[in-house]
Symmetry: C2
Subunit: 226 residues, 2 copies
DNA sequence: TAAATCTTGTTTACGTTGTACGTAACGTGG
DNA sequence: CCACGTTACGTACAACGTAAACAAGATTTA
């Protein structure tokens, strides 16, 4: 009957969640700047404007993508209370963040980049703050610890992504014609370039994380210090 | 005579550097996504395609912007050699980075975000590596220190920028209609929201920086340990 | 000197983007 | 039966990046 039912995709009822998931898939496959309303539509086998029945505009769609990606940050979350080994939980949170960052690297870039993504990270910040509070930090110190913790998380992720995009790779989503002043006047960088890319990023990350956690552990704390 | 000489801008001979500077001005004034080839052209009082005589395409222009912004990172740079107070130099580098980030916040966001920007940071990485080498770290440790240092720099900057964009402000370059799940289930965050925005970001930054530097100082080092 | 080439800017035009608008198929309650 | 809201579709438009052809001065070459 239907003379133009989709030929290349299953015909699910086109809900908002489906649009978001398809968007994530496209971002991971073709890069963030290749995410187009028309592309989503054809991928789903529907008209372009049909998407706007479920999503008000593209920015909101990106926000929904960010939220969906961060929704995968469900670290088991123990019960609250004084915790004598708060570093273990901090490591778990960092690991969870790292896991989703590895599963959806490009979408995670979008999350870290856009202000909507930072907003969606509110719940994660909440959990981290609870953790620091349980560790015995007072309010001001907990905020400082949270800032340092998140700074390292975000920066390390973006740094690793940038380092990976530097190592040859067929440049897919970013410009490739920027080899003009390279390798000329940065002897130490090229000398240590192999060192930079030899070390697996996970080890680098863990190294800095341990350093940060130890530093945090030396901060003044309140009652629940075991 | 010229019946259509520009009325709103001086008529300099339209060099590449002028285009870059105008782009930076537009980015800082109207946001990064408002930077348009046509806008640059009208701002300079020339036709759109005239720009393409000095810049191959928009991506390269953005790369040039990134490079130009990072060119302001000229920390006085002492002579190389064993340095007994390397932390002082590290603080100087952090301060220089912070200064340009405060002078061109939106352009700096572009730098941190785009891979071209990370590339342009090569010279800065070079200097930091030299610093860590002079401090007595071996190659592997210096790379680890550099990663941690840059991670904190980048993350702290993006975090501060995100925090600033959260505090009410008339949303200029980012979406504003994302108030849906806020303030409901994040009690600790809203409880400490004022704490989060009361502390001036500089103090927060210095706090984490000192922590990081002290942690780095405890890493194993070679001969030049004073 | 005159011709050829390069530089610098303009004009026109094309393809792609996000999305506003009008319309048709669809169930569901009167 | 109809009116109705919800959902999907096709058309249309303004703004975008930029390729191509062209014009006019500056510079080089014969």
């Amino acid at each position: 009957m239907g003379k133009k039912t989709a030929d290349h995709a299953e015909r699910r009822p086109l809900t908002r969640e489906l649009i978001v998931q398809t968007s994530i898939a496209i971002i991971e496959r073709d890069g963030a700047k290749a995410l187009t309303m028309r592309k989503i539509a054809t991928e789903l086998g529907v008209g372009v404007m049909s998407l706007y029945n479920h999503v008000p505009n593209k920015d909101e769609l990106l926000a929904a993508v960010a939220e969906s990606v961060l929704a995968g940050l469900d670290v088991p979350e123990r019960e609250a209370g004084p915790d004598q080994d708060w570093k273990l939980h901090a490591r778990a949170m960092a690991g969870a963040f790292r896991a989703v960052a590895h599963r959806y690297p490009r979408s995670m870039h979008l999350v870290l980049t856009s202000p909507a993504g930072r907003m969606a990270g509110g719940r994660t910040a909440e959990r981290a703050l609870a953790l620091f509070a349980a560790a015995g930090f007072d309010a001001a110190t907990a905020v400082n610890a949270l800032c340092a913790f998140m700074s390292y998380m975000i920066g390390a992720q973006m740094l690793e992504e940038g380092a990976l995009s530097m190592t040859g790779r067929p440049p897919e989503d970013h410009l490739d014609a920027d080899a003009e002043i390279d390798l000329d006047e940065i002897p130490r960088v090229v000398e240590l370039a192999d060192e930079l890319m030899r070390v697996d990023p996970d080890a680098d990350f863990e190294y800095g994380l341990e350093m940060l956690l130890c530093a945090l552990d030396r901060l003044p704390r309140g009652a629940s210090k075991v």
